[in-house]
Structures are given as C-alpha cells and as structure tokens.
C-alpha cells in the first residue's frame, strides 16, 4: 500500500481554512485531519478531542521536550502543535493527512518532512478578509486589527509553499485541493515502486 500524503493548509485567520478542511475530509474518505494540541482555552462551541486536544501549558511543554510533536508554535501567547505519532500512523495506513497550521508550523514540517505538500489558502482580496475577520465577531477591535496585520505579514511566507488556492467560495477551493491531491499522487517521485515493478516485467525480452 502507498503511504498517505501529508498536506499542510495555512492561511490567515478569516480565510476559511476550518470550513475548507472540514468539507474536504467529508468528501474524501481517504483524507483525514489530525487533531492539534493546544494550551489555549476552548472558544465557545469547541470540544476537547474534536476541535483540539486542550492541554495545560506545562503538559504541552513536556511534549515538546519529548520530541512528540511534528511541529509546534506559540501564537498570540498560546501553544499549538501536531502529535507526530498520530500523523505517522494514519499515513502508514494509506490515509492522506491534512494539517491546518500556521506559517511557523509549516516551516518546521517542510524541514522535517521533505515530501509534505504545502498549500496556502487566500481570500479573494484583503478587503474581503477584513470583512470576514470583523464578521466573526468573537474578538476585540485591537485583536481583529492585529490579526489583519498578521495576515498581511504572512503573505511574505507564501514563497515557501507549493500551492496557493484563492478561496472565492468553499466548493471551488475544495475542488482545487482535491485536484492537488490527485495530481500529487501522479508525481513520478511518488511512484518509484510501481515503476520499478513495471520495468521488471521482462516476459517478452
């Protein structure tokens, strides 16, 4: 069985990463996400073990020390990270794993997992992004502005990514990421084994 792909989905907050990821995993049986660990408090409606594994800061730092995280970052004073074991187990079963993480985390993944596929999700315009951040209504004005400025700063990081997807609407963005998955599975570098097998068929020669 082929090892599953490792996909990374980044993008400024307010771009719709969460919705796109959820829709993708619903449509593609072979795709699953990995539940991140975080030290921040749950937002309204967020459930432990579903949206995140919520952990006290000290326990999070223990995971870092043990090397149990594929990547981790401290954002707005909170830790976020991805458990290595969970991801590797799923990929070994042939499942593709998609991680919804920020640019700091993506950089670490790129260094540790050379074959990872990095996708940056963008709003159609920055004005639209600002409207979406405002529309969420869960943050104070200073926090919203901080998020917006961070988003603008993150644009510089796109050159580290393989793909950019403009999220004009969810279903279009989902279709594009599905196409990226299909295409990546056709990459010559990911088919070495199959090609070697074909080449060994020497029955007529």
């Amino acid at each position: 069985m082929d090892k599953g792909l490792l996909l990374v989905l980044s993008g400024p907050s307010g771009t719709g990463k969460g919705t796109v990821c959820e829709e993708l995993c619903q449509q593609q049986n072979s795709l699953c996400n990995s539940i991140s660990v975080t030290s921040r408090f749950p937002r309204k409606g967020e459930k432990d073990g579903v949206h995140y594994h919520f952990l006290p800061e000290a326990q999070f730092e223990k995971l870092i020390e043990e090397g149990a995280l594929l990547e981790w970052a401290r954002v707005y004073g909170n830790y976020y990270g991805t458990p290595l074991k969970q991801v590797e187990e799923k990929r070994a079963q042939g499942l593709d794993v998609i991680l919804e993480i920020d640019t700091q985390g993506a950089k670490q993944i790129r260094e540790r997992v050379k074959e990872a596929i990095l996708i940056f999700l963008l709003p159609p315009s920055l004005k639209e992004l600002w409207n979406r951040i405002k529309g969420r209504g869960t943050e104070k004005p200073e926090v919203m502005k901080e998020r917006f400025l961070a988003a603008h700063g993150e644009l510089k990081e796109i050159s580290n990514y393989n793909y950019v997807v403009f999220n004009n609407n969810v279903s279009e963005a989902v279709d594009k990421i599905k196409a990226i998955i299909t295409a990546e599975k056709c990459r010559v570098a990911r088919n070495k084994e199959k090609l070697a097998k074909l080449s060994e068929e020497r029955w007529l020669i």
Copy 2:
C-alpha cells in the same frame, strides 16, 4: 490574462496517447493540441492539417535550420516536430497547449521551456501494452516487436518527467490529467503576479 500552460504527453506507442489527448481537448475548452509536422506518409484515415501537417523531408529540414521548431525528432526514419509559433500564439491567448510527443522531443522541450509540465502515460502492464500493439494490426511483426522493445527502453526516461499516469481506462486517465492542469495552475510559481497584486492592497495599513 494568464499565459496558458504547456503540457507534454509522452508514452510508448500503444499506450493510448492519441485517444486520451483527443478526449481531453474535447472536455476542456481551454485546452488545445498543436498539430505536429512530419515527414512520414499518412497512415490510413489520417488527414493533412488534422492529424499532422505532412511535409517532404527537405522542407522539414528547412524548418529545423530556421529554428522554427520547438522540438523535433527522427523516429523510425521519419521526422516529427512541433511548430514554435503556433504553440506560443495559443499560450499567449491564455490557452493551455498539450503536445503528444516522444521522449526525445520532451527532453528538448524541458531544456527550452522550463515551466513545461511533462506527463508520461503508461499502460497498466507491459503485457497489456503488447496486446494493444498487436491489436492495432497495422504493423508487421518485426515492427511490433521493435515498438515493444522501444517502449521498454523508454521507461528509463520517466525520471525526466513530472507526472506518470497509468492508463487503466481513458476516462480515469483524462480525469487525472485534468487534475494535474488544475493543480499546476495553483502552483505558487505560476501566481506571482496575482500575489503581488494582493500584497499591494494596503488600504487599511
């Protein structure tokens, strides 16, 4: 407008390149093929200006001298080539161009057009390929064997390609190539202009 992609489709004869290409161009309005020039005689059913531009050997050699060909090759004693101007004009109009060419030609394209996307079409097995070559019934046994051995030799060239598509059935192969086109249009390197534009939106900052 974005410049169209340049796709190259190679694969041993008998793999179904022609059928896949035709089906692709029918399904994708933005995709067209380029009619090759050749010095060989038309096969039964082939029309000048549709399947190939058929030219006498001397005229073909003149095109080579003039640098009017994007690539050319001599296969089984006949010349085959792709007119440069035709391809560039279509790409400038935003059309994606797919070229059905052999490994020699693909190598030349790779050197001249860095952004070209090289796809290798393969049969599900070599046994299946042999059946298809036999089934065509237009060649003598020696020619069929020669084609088969050439096919096996071409497998070595796959490492120069970006993608490999197994042609188990035409519609599956077509869908995969369509996904490759969609994915390639999302590549960060192909979206520099759009990204620069987005980054310049400084209305709030």
